[in-house]
Subunit: 377 residues, 2 copies
């Protein structure tokens, strides 16, 4: 659209008109049935999306605030094992280091997690394990279920960052033994940036840390959420709650299974295009690790500059992500989160194909046709 870039990022993502419109309302008293009902609707709709029957708490802050709420409330003063194979795993580890005695179990970005080292860490008394489920920095989907099994075996708390998987891919928090799961509003939920939602198991509540942070204390959040109507301990970002409820309502309308199937189809189309072009995918896939279904990443071939591909696409009105930190300039990543659908994927794949052609790269084949094949199936 004129003066409006098509955002194909791994968050933030385009929002439905009705979601944006929900923010137009005049201010309300947030200690009210209006806010309480809104909060209740969000929780009711998100529970099956998280795969949990546990309480879900909504925080006025970004996904990082959700990460810190989980760590500060349940890992403070404890032995923590942080699994890392990308930027967001690293961030979760850095936050853990502020609060607990943390062992970072690092792999190369986008490579398999070191589950042997995790088992060892658990043998040595790790009480809390942190994992980023869908690591967007490397476009990889990590084996949350396997990590959950190890946590169960050693009776450790399992904190799962599902910021970019929940609402777009399968998450079964209860079945996988996840104690604390986190989602961000501006990813697969397609709500505005600025909220995090966190589910907490009974086991986690029994192991609450002492001297927790104030603003991000999940105990306080639970106490307020237990009120009727639901409340928040401090003033909530009301317009974002209203927008989040509408975004959740759209998820309910689509059905979470349909939504996940849509995300999988869209990412499969982008993956296939890259394969046909002859690009190397960023994630190293094996029996346990899969390519992400909400963001797809490729390495640039030798001699191709980030500016030639992303720069051209941006000029054409389409913006997707480059690499972060150590991947800067080396990879590009196309998101397909939230309400992104077929036209946006087609436009993006077509434009990337053009960009590579213009850059003089000899494409292995017609990626657009390959993508269209999958999308039309």
């Amino acid at each position: 659209m004129y003066n409006q870039t098509l955002l194909m990022m791994p968050g933030p993502v385009p929002m439905a008109e009705s979601v944006r419109g929900a923010m137009l309302n005049q201010a309300i008293n947030h200690r009210s049935k209006q806010l309480g009902d809104c909060y209740s609707d969000i929780v009711r709709i998100l529970q099956p999306v998280f795969g949990t029957k546990n309480e879900i708490l909504v925080l006025s802050g970004s996904g990082t605030a959700g990460q810190e709420a989980a760590i500060g409330s349940f890992a403070k003063g404890k032995k923590v094992a942080s699994l890392v194979n990308g930027k967001f795993g690293e961030r979760l580890g850095l936050i853990s280091q502020i609060y607990g005695e943390t062992t970072m179990i690092e792999s190369e970005w986008g490579h398999a997690l070191n589950l042997e080292a995790l088992a060892e860490s658990l043998e040595n008394g790790a009480e809390v394990v942190t994992l980023v489920h869908n690591e967007t920095s490397a476009a990889i989907l990590n084996p949350a279920e396997e990590v959950g099994k190890l946590c169960k075996k050693h009776d450790a708390l399992f904190i799962l960052d599902g910021i970019t998987s929940i609402g777009g891919d399968v998450v079964k928090a209860d079945e996988w033994g996840v104690d604390v799961a986190i989602v961000g509003s501006q990813k697969c939920l397609a709500a505005p940036a600025g909220l995090a939602a966190v589910s907490v198991s009974e086991k986690a509540w029994e192991r609450l840390s002492e001297n927790r942070p104030f603003y991000l204390d999940l105990k306080k959040a639970k106490k307020s959420a237990d009120a009727s109507p639901k409340e928040t301990p401090t003033t909530p970002a009301v317009p974002l709650f209203m927008a989040m409820r509408e975004a959740c309502r759209l998820i309910e309308e689509e059905g979470i299974e349909n939504r996940i199937a849509r995300h999988r189809k869209l990412s499969a189309a982008v993956r296939e295009a890259g394969k046909v072009w002859g690009l190397a995918p960023v994630p190293q896939v094996d029996a346990l690790h899969a390519a992400s279904n909400t963001v797809t990443g490729f390495f640039y071939p030798e001699g191709i500059e980030d500016s030639q591909i992303r720069g051209f696409c941006k000029k054409m009105g389409i913006e997707f992500a480059g690499g972060q930190d150590r991947f800067k300039g080396k990879i590009f990543r196309v998101g397909n989160m939230g309400i992104i659908d077929t036209p946006e994927i087609l436009a993006t794949v077509a434009t990337i194909q053009l960009a590579f052609k213009k850059a003089g790269f000899k494409l292995g084949g017609d990626g657009l046709e390959a993508a269209a094949e999958i999308l039309s199936a």
Copy 2:
């Protein structure tokens, strides 16, 4: 308006249509000129409103998040003296207790601060002082300038919670020796709830605490804000930034002096009405302490129930605040923050007067007339 309560709270407050409309925009990449320009506009307009030439950082979180960012970044591991004469001073003290070695210097709610005890605490090595400037829980305006003088004398850092004064009353952060000043978005700025803005002096930056919290680390916020275009360290609540810029633009249009004069006139009208009715004001005013200019509080007379006054007014479509915690059921508080103006004050004073009449209280006189006298001056 139909189906829309007139909010006369000490925050949240009604917002201008243009402020709410600013949230309608489609999602943007927040690492962009669009967000950076928005952030810059907010800072430029807020600097004179804070009375500072210091950098101002905008955080995606409520005023409490701003309080914790200040404490966690500059008071962690230090000796803190927390001045308390109401609920929000107490909260600032509670947050300080999580991070530093904190002495709470408490007065009765709404009574004068104990500045002798503060001087003693500073003699004994307090390195940081916290104060709530405008304590809404007791409708009192505390002597920030005096506290600043004591801090300067003892070379202590001065953290001022200006959450409900900045934008509605005089704040001269630099002149008063304030090192860290905090404002919330949904108070006198009349923006939606969910943002805090914090100014930080050079002296404060030189005394940054170690091992700060992650999400609310002001050092990280500064590093990102120093970029061009300005950024935030984690995903910002973009719609709230857009709305905040528009709210700031309206402040610039009105002029901060005019805005403060308006707030003072409106609160003077409510105070005068209460005086004429024969109600006892909540704040104990003296040479240093004044009644708040952004919220006005009165004790209920013997035999009058909160439900008879606030309940009746709510039924009539006007909502203001009762007492919190120890003041619950004992006081009522009428806010006049942000874009509240003459019609809203007249409607509120008239309705309260009716409520007292209906409750059988013998009024000392016509408060509505007295208020109108001031408002029409």
